[in-house]
Point group: D2
């Protein structure tokens, strides 16, 4: 029997990618979409229609559950909608898998408590790219031995913010892992402001923005006489598909809350 998945945020770009991933899998299917509008209509290849074709849309999760009995709710909505969706899912015994970023610490705490009460496990993954998650995980592990680290992230010049969320998250994971450490030359002389990058506990983050780039990150870890570099290049949202499927398969039967795909990857 296939895993029955309901999806919130089905009309967005991540939603479209996720539906494709699930429908390509032999062991899962999308049974319904949760939306804030279009109740009673259907979704087919990113377009909404009134004919009974494609994925049925519901504005009420309880009605959706009653009629389609999903095991998992995949949420790829936005910071405004995700918290309510997850709470509703947990109270109905549906496992949430969340790819939406922007949950506050307060919200995460509440979700964690609900998971404990309901014994319905969930997975929250800010990044579904297995390659990116492996990069962060490996960088954190390696920093226990090679504690001098600089992060270089490179994106197309239409990206507005710097540094990237992934670079910041990588730095945080390294800070939790590397031993207390003073990095760099104490008497460094900087002749051009900013040349040494942004500082995170001595670690430096450098952001490059150029046309001709997509989304890339390198973590450089130096030791006496050697350098370890872990690099991830991302071409398309297709790279999220294996991570989405991994989370859906893994959440079933869980009774705890997992934060970050890195915790279900060996």
């Amino acid at each position: 029997m296939k895993i029955k998945v309901a999806i919130a945020g089905a009309r967005g770009r991540m939603g479209t990618t996720a539906i494709e991933a699930i429908e390509e899998a032999v062991d899962a299917e999308v049974v319904a979409a949760l939306d804030y509008k279009f109740d009673g209509m259907h979704l087919h290849n990113a377009s909404v229609n009134e004919e009974k074709q494609g994925i049925p849309i519901y504005t009420s999760l309880s009605k959706l559950v009653e009629e389609h009995h999903p095991t998992v709710l995949l949420d790829v909505t936005d910071p405004d909608a995700v918290f309510t969706n997850v709470k509703d899912a947990l109270s109905l015994g549906i496992h949430p898998v969340v790819g939406t970023s922007g949950l506050t610490k307060q919200e995460l705490k509440q979700i964690s408590e609900m998971v404990e009460t309901t014994k319905t496990g969930g997975i929250i993954a800010p990044n579904f790219s297995i390659g990116a998650v492996l990069m962060m995980k490996f960088a954190a592990q390696a920093s226990r031995y090679l504690g001098d680290v600089e992060i270089l992230e490179m994106h197309h010049d239409r990206k507005l913010d710097a540094p990237s969320g992934t670079a910041v998250k990588t730095a945080e994971m390294i800070m939790e892992n590397r031993p207390p450490h003073i990095q760099g030359h104490p008497e460094e002389q900087i002749h051009l402001e900013g040349a040494r990058g942004g500082d995170v506990e001595g670690m430096k983050i450098h952001s490059i923005r150029l046309p001709g780039l997509l989304a890339h990150q390198q973590v450089l870890l130096g030791g006496e006489g050697e350098l370890l570099t872990i690099r991830h290049d991302s071409l398309s949202r297709k790279s999220f598909m294996p991570g989405i499927m991994m989370a859906i398969r893994n959440v079933i039967g869980r009774n705890d809350l997992i934060y970050g795909l890195e915790n279900i990857i060996d």
Copy 2:
């Protein structure tokens, strides 16, 4: 109290590096050297002398143990000497740490049996560079998820053999980890012999030899829409020091045999 280390192969390049590493550490010291000649003489900064200065040299391990009570024997000799040294160490209750490559499967099996009998643990590490070991370990782990792999190793043009031992070892570790897998385009047309590199179960190994290079390796792991690259650059034998110290500290109290530094690195 410092860890007392005896060292075999002390006069070689690795031996000199190892002595430096141990003497820089606050928790270990070299108490004596095991050699096939120069019995009764002393070793100081790679030169042997008859004055009682530096590290005393012994040609008999039992006499060395009797007089200096080492806990660990670090062996950085050669394929001819290492097996006897390790057996002697185990029979005397000394923990062997071996950086010499070239032990045969037969010899490894015998050592393993002796460790079980004597309950004296040992560590055999063909590569003491933590960066290189992490690269191999991460590549093997990542190949579980990103199963299409090519290995690119680059060395100075004075290196005689291709591919490098590290490249082959990396391919072997990946083969043990990635799921059964057919890699590449089945209808590939090769117009220049060798252009696609050396084949190891579909994985390709490419060896570059140029002046201006030292010792470098990249493992490229591809997935749909993403690429993960793990690269190690090695500048000098100094990169072996942390690995040597890690093994010496870790072997104490062990009663099993560890093969490969990757097994004592988290």
Copy 3:
């Protein structure tokens, strides 16, 4: 006044890209399309229609010229059509700009002779990517000083042939530039067939094929104590646009034949 351009191969992918490039330029316009069918119909956004909208299609170049007076014929057809198109253009005094590869040496010779007779200049450019052309040009120049070279080209695993045309062309340009030279260790021992790549006069070409790659090439040039690497990454056909426009602007007023964009780039 805008440069009037006729285009052959307008319905193909390169043709569509070229039309976009020309129409975005302030100093050029597409006046008509040359095709082997659809005479009298019109082309608009890659679709052919019978209404008089978009670019008029002709199967006869002389009729096209008579009615629309182009200065340049841009040919992005295929090996079968290009030779006739170029000859027809030259005999009508139209400057050919050719992006189609596959002209034989014999055909090139004939074109060269016609250019001399007609005094109508032309440009034949197998690669319109300025970045790729610069890479090849720089690699050839640098090889005069750093004569030990290896070429590494990396493409997605749907690419059938290896090595890439660009890698072979790069090797040829280097052979014309570097001094007579024996590369590599004469006593090299290869333990895995193909590991050292494909050989072109001692230079090695290595082809990597992985999902997660697009189209990339690195030329590594080694010297005593230093390495120069020239790398080109290609993301999309959009990278051809500036090269197409450069050729169209440059061909006007020419009375000679240019082979390769590198000859009009300083």
Copy 4:
């Protein structure tokens, strides 16, 4: 007949390297050393002695010239000595080849005037690494077509200053070549000070400092759909030798002043 070279700065590291380079060449020889002390003594393998062995040392250039008739004075001293040495050489009709950095604009202007008067040509090269010079030259050329540029320089963490002189020089050469240009997203939001690097007319310079690095620089040039990267890795001062010899051979017969090795490299 061999080119007779006098050398100033012979006892320094660059001097030692230069002497080695010249003595390895078949067409040049070191005839004497100019120094501020040790007059009448000799220099052999970086050590000064009183025996008449090795290169004779002079504190007076005119006496040196009188006795040894050099054609070239190679100056690898320091900012304090170089200006006087060059003026003395020119007034004696000796061609100066200068590898010392730190000449002021005022001093350069005076040297230029003296060259014009004396018709004795000279070469001033702040960087003798041909690979580094080619990198800068190519980057400047490419920036005419690919005008969006970021520079990434990476050095060991014992380097005190950032950015490197080569990075700044590269930026200057690009500024002279690329068309007027606004780079980057006008609405960029920087959440970590310094993350976007040091700014030079919109171009960014990023300096990485880690153990395990030596001396490396990458220039990234982006265009629509493509990226060109030019990278130089420097391992040792040996990389300066070919540049030193090139300058010595080229300066003979010159009656003009050359600033930068890039101007004698095609």
